[in-house]
Amino acid sequence: MTVFDIVNFFGLKIRAGENRLNEEVTGGYASDLLSDVIAHSRKGNIWVTIQTHPNIVAVATMKELTGIILTGGREPDSNTLQKAEEEEIPILVSSLFTFELVGKLYQMGISGMGEC
């Protein structure tokens, strides 16, 4: 499944990284503590968060994540968008809150990390 498939399924709004939606999604991670995402997310993951700070782009780049979904209709900060365009990291906005979105992603077959 690609990022593009997820965008289509949920009707996510694309805020940045439009040219990088064809990447294969290996799994998902949901967290708003960036230190936690650095510690536990894996390459190719789609990341679900409510953090909108520019550091989310740096974390996604560092961890080679396929994209960031902001939930609850939160919009990225303007300098976050700018960074995401530079780094070509997809930033997507969902009107669902994290719990519902993650539940539906899981139903679609996107898995998490299992137990810690």
Partner: protein
């Protein structure tokens, strides 16, 4: 003539919902004097309604008290702001109040007691001081500086509500004046763990919520006098001012 001053620049009062009710001006000033401190800063969560009372109580005992606030950013990062004047501190408080939703639930978070310099209760703050403001971390730093204050990231060695916990690393180009390390981390450990941030000055403070914790962790500053302006100079190694190795 520069002198060494012993400072604890992060202390909560009974205004913070999580602060002990005994954290009142006379009691706290007595404790700080007993601990041999020269200077303290009162930094309640998102409010400075008790600072003037502490400054008066400090004046009576010859203890310098600086007005401050521990601000919560929208990313849920705690940030210490310290000023030389109550006016500047109150200006920050006013901006916070315009951007702080919610009402305190006393039975859940604790009471938010406003006091006078004689330790008497004169009011209750009803705002949800424990909550996050709608202001970004960067915005708060820039407002503190516009108001001539000192901006220090709180307890960066902790996971909860810290710059490093919330954002993973310190974003480039943030003009912070210093990084606070909690009493949980020794100076040696901090040097190793935060090696990549050594271009910032490290500050040790107690983050006391209880009288017994006042001064449990302090910073020695080499300053001309006990002002936030001098502290800022020390944090930036200006004109001989500096943080002492202790």
């Amino acid at each position: 003539m520069l002198k060494t001053f012993r400072a604890d620049l992060h202390i909560h009062s009974c205004l913070s919902p999580c602060g002990e009710e005994e954290m009142r001006p006379r009691a706290l000033v007595n404790q700080a004097v007993a601990k041999g401190l020269d200077m303290i800063a009162i930094c309640d969560h998102n409010s400075a309604e008790n600072t003037a009372a502490f400054i008066s109580a400090g004046d009576e005992r010859g203890l310098k008290v600086l007005p401050g606030i521990e601000v919560t950013s929208k990313e849920e990062i705690h940030l210490i702001a310290i000023f030389d004047t109550q006016e500047d501190c109150t200006a920050l408080q006013n901006l916070i109040y315009q951007n702080l939703p919610g009402e305190n639930m006393e039975e859940v978070f604790g009471p938010q007691t406003v006091v006078n310099e004689k330790d008497e209760t004169i009011g209750i703050n009803r705002r949800m001081l424990i909550g996050a403001t709608l202001l970004s971390f960067e915005k708060i730093v820039s407002v503190i500086h516009a108001l001539r204050g000192v901006a220090i990231a709180s307890h960066i060695d902790r996971q909860a509500f810290s710059l490093l916990g919330q954002l993973g690393f310190i974003p480039e180009g943030i003009p912070l004046d210093g990084l606070e390390i909690s009493s949980r981390t020794s100076k040696e450990e901090a040097k190793n763990r935060f090696h990549s941030y050594q271009h910032y000055s490290f500050v040790w403070s107690s983050d006391a919520h209880y009288l017994k914790d006042v001064g449990r962790s302090i910073t020695h500053f080499l300053l001309k006098e006990t002002t936030s302006r001098e502290v800022k100079m020390a944090l930036h190694h200006e004109e001989g001012r500096r943080v002492m190795e202790a």
